[in-house]
C-alpha cells in the first residue's frame, strides 16, 4: 500500500504488516530489512521501508504503573494520548510532550522528542527507564543506563535504526491540576523574543509563534507563550473540587484535501497578521486546559490535509546559542523574501543536548511548515546552507528531502552512528530516510 509521513509528501509503495503478538513480530523481522512505524506523525520517510514496514500499533497494552515512583511500563504502540487519558485524572503527566499527543511511545523514544520544557527538563530521554528492544537476530534485549548503555542511548533518538522497541518504562511527573497558567508576551522582533526566552529560563514551559511574513523592522515579530502547571487555587471556582478533570474538547476532523490554491502566501499573511494581533490584544495572563495548551493542532484531526494532495514539508533546525540570533535572522529574512510565508512557525529555546544521536543542542530551534511548491523547493536548500554556516543541525523526524551530504556535514555524529550500526550488525533496520541519508 501507499504510505507517507504526516506531510503527505511523496507517498511510497510499501509492504506494511501489523503484527499483534511477538511471534508475528519475529515472523515479520525474518523477512529481512525492516523499520518500525508508530502513528506516522513524523513528517517524512523515517517510518517507511518499501520492503518491510512494521506497524507497532497492535502492541498497545499498558503493563503496570507504580504510584510510588511514577514509572509506567507499557508496550511501544501505546499512544501518549492514552497515557494522559489514564493518568492525568490520577495526578500524573508525561515529563515531555511534543506538539501532538497522537504519537506512540516507540515514536517518542526513537525521535527523542522534545517539548516546550526542554530548557528545564531535557528531552523524552530523561523519562525513559529501560527499553525492550528486538534486535536483528530477533532476540529481545532489555537495555537501560546500566544494561548495554550504548544501545540504550543510541536507541533514544536512533530513528528506529537500532531495532524494534517492543516495551518501555517511562517516568511520569506528578501534577496538581490539568490546567496551565499561560502568560503571553507580544515581542516586536526576533531580538525581543529571544530576550524574553532568556529572561524566563526558569519558567517550565516556553514557546514562541513567529509571524514569519513580517519583514524589516518587524522581522521575527512573535508571541512568546510561557506556561506552568496551575495550582488548584488559581482555577476558576467550578474546577476547584476536581482540578485534574478537564472537560473534553470537541474534535473536528479535516476530511478532505484542500485545493492547493487555498493556502497561498496571501492567505497565510492575512492569518498571521490576525493571529498576532489577536494574541497581542487578548489578556496576557490566562488559565488554559492542558489539551489546548500543549496540543492546539490536535483539535482538528488530519489538519495536514489542509495543504492539499501535494503535501507539505517542515523545516526544523537547531542552532547553537552563540550563533542563533545571526542564523535565525538570516533564515527568517530568506523566508520572508520569497513570500513563502508559513503559518506554523515555532521557536523554542533548547537546554543542553544529551545522547549520541538526539537532535537538541543548547541554543534555539525553529520549525516552519511549507506547502510543497516550487518556491519551497528553491527556498529549502538556502535554509540548509544558512543552517550549516551557523553550525546548526536538522531534525530527522521532520525531514523528507535532505541530501546525505548536507546531513553529514551538519552532524558528524551520523557517520559515527552508521559505523556503530555496522559494527553491531544492525544494518537490517533501514528506512527510506536512512537509505537516503546513508545512516
Amino acid at each position: 500500500m501507499k504510505i507517507s509521513g504526516w506531510g503527505n509528501f511523496e507517498a511510497q509503495e510499501a509492504r506494511v504488516t501489523a503484527p499483534k503478538d511477538e511471534a508475528a513480530l519475529s515472523a515479520a523481522l525474518s523477512k529481512g530489512q525492516a523499520i518500525a512505524r508508530g502513528n506516522g506523525r513524523s513528517y517524512g520517510d523515517s517510518a517507511i521501508s518499501k520492503r518491510n514496514t512494521v506497524s507497532m500499533l497492535g502492541f498497545n497494552k499498558m503493563i503496570g504503573f507504580d504510584p510510588e515512583t511514577g514509572i509506567l511500563e507499557a508496550e511501544a504502540g501505546v499512544l501518549l494520548s492514552d497515557v494522559i487519558d489514564s493518568f492525568l485524572p490520577r495526578g500524573w503527566f508525561p515529563l515531555v510532550t511534543p506538539g501532538t499527543r497522537l504519537i506512540t511511545l516507540g515514536g517518542a523514544i526513537a525521535s527523542d522528542v522534545h517539548g516546550k520544557n526542554h530548557h528545564v527538563d531535557g528531552s523524552f530521554r530523561a523519562s525513559v527507564e529501560w527499553i525492550d528492544l528486538v534486535g536483528a537476530d530477533g532476540a529481545l534485549v532489555r537495555c537501560s543506563r546500566d544494561a548495554d548503555p550504548e544501545l540504550f542511548h543510541y536507541t533514544i533518538g536512533g530513528m528506529g535504526l537500532t531495532g524494534i522497541i517492543l516495551r518501555c518504562a517511562i517516568r511520569l511527573r506528578p501534577v496538581r491540576s490539568g490546567w496551565i497558567r499561560q502568560i503571553t508576551h507580544a515581542a516586536k522582533d526576533l531580538k525581543a523574543a529571544m530576550t524574553c526566552f532568556e529572561d524566563n529560563l526558569d519558567r517550565p514551559y516556553s514557546v514562541a509563534w513567529i509571524d514569519c511574513a513580517a519583514k524589516g523592522e518587524r522581522l521575527g515579530r512573535s508571541l512568546v507563550m510561557l506556561g506552568d502547571h496551575a495550582n488548584p487555587g488559581e482555577l476558576p471556582a467550578r474546577y476547584h473540587t476536581d482540578p485534574l478533570n478537564v472537560p473534553k474538547r470537541t474534535k473536528r476532523t479535516f476530511p478532505f484535501h484542500l485545493p492547493n490554491f487555498v493556502l497561498n502566501p496571501f492567505s497565510v499573511r492575512a492569518f498571521n497578521y490576525l493571529y498576532y494581533w489577536k494574541g497581542a490584544l487578548t489578556p496576557k495572563d490566562r488559565i488554559v486546559d492542558w489539551d489546548s495548551y500543549f496540543f492546539p493542532l490536535d483539535a482538528i484531526r488530519h489538519w495536514n490535509k489542509l495543504y492539499g494532495k501535494r503535501g507539505f514539508l517542515q523545516f526544523q533546525c537547531a542552532l547553537p546559542l552563540d550563533k542563533a540570533e545571526a542564523g535565525l535572522t538570516k533564515i527568517l529574512e530568506a523566508t520572508a523574501e520569497t513570500g513563502q510565508a508559513s503559518f506554523l512557525c515555532v521557536l523554542k529555546r533548547f537546554g543542553p543536548g544529551a545522547g549520541p544521536m538526539s537532535f537538541p543542542m543548547e541554543g534555539y530551534t525553529l520549525a516552519m511548515d511549507f506547502p510543497n511548491t516550487e518556491a519551497t523547493g528553491d527556498l529549502l536548500p538556502r535554509l540548509d546552507a544558512i543552517t550549516l554556516e551557523h553550525s546548526g543541525r536538522f531534525y530527522l523526524t521532520k525531514d523528507a528531502r535532505l541530501p546525505a551530504s548536507i546531513a553529514h556535514q551538519s552532524d558528524p555524529r551520523m557517520e559515527e552512528f552508521a559505523t556503530w550500526r555496522r559494527a553491531r550488525g544492525l544494518d537490517q533496520f533501514a528506512s527510506s530516510q536512512s537509505e537516503r541519508l546513508i545512516l
Binding site: 497494552k61 499498558m62 503493563i63 503496570g64 504503573f65 511500563e73 507499557a74 492514552d82 489514564s86 490520577r90
Partner: protein, 244 residues
Amino acid sequence: MTEPVLILGARSDIARATAHVFAAKGYPIQLAARNVASLEADKADLETRYGVTVTLHEFDAVAIEDHSHFVDNLPELPQIAVTAVGFMGDHDESMRHPLAAARVLRANFEGPALILGELSERFAARKYGTLVGISSVAGDRGRATNYIYGSAKAGFTAFLSGLRNRLAKENVHVVTVLPGFVNTSMTEGMDLPGKLTAEPEELGEAIYKAVEKSRNIIYVRPIWWLVMMIIRNIPEAIFKKMSI
C-alpha cells in the same frame, strides 16, 4: 463498592472493547474465556489504564454441566454480564458435516443462552442486574450462505426476548445486541462495506449506553435496523429466489 461486570468470551475483540469501556467508567471486570491465562496481558492493561480490579476465570460455554459451578466460583456475583461467545465456522463444512454444524449451533445458541439462563436465576433472586447477549442480524432471517450460524443466532435472539419478558417483573434487564458487520478477527480477510461495518470500540460504547439506558434491542450500526426491516419484509416467494 461498584459490583463487577462479567465478560464471557472475553478473548473476542468485541468483548475486549466492551471491557475497556466499562473499566474506563470504573467497573471492576471479570474476564471469562477458554484458555483464560492468555488474557494476563489484557488484565494488566485494564488494571493499569483504569485502576480497576480485573479477575480471570476459565470458562467454556458449551460445557453446560459446569455452568452452575462456574457461577458459584466467581468471587462475587456480577451486576452486569455480557456474553460475546460465538463461532461462525465454515458454512460449507457445516452443511456437509452434522458435527461441524452442531458445534456452530452450540457455540451460538446453547452455550450463551444457558449461561445467561444460569445467571438469570441468581439475578432474579437478588432482584437486580443486567444481562447482555450479543446475537447477530444473521438471526433476523435465514439466508442460503449462513443459515446454520444464522438459525443459532435466531434461537439466541428468541431466548433473550423470552428471558427479558420473564425477568421484567424481577427488576432484571436483558439487552439484545444485534451487530451487522464488525471489524474483528471473526471477519478478518472479508471484504466488508465501510459504512455498514462497525469497529469493536463502537460496539463497546453502544453496549455501555444500552445498559445505562435499559434499552431492549440495539442494532449496531443503527442503519442495520432499516436494512433488516427491509430484508425481513421481502415476501418469501421472492426471497427464496434471491441470492443475498
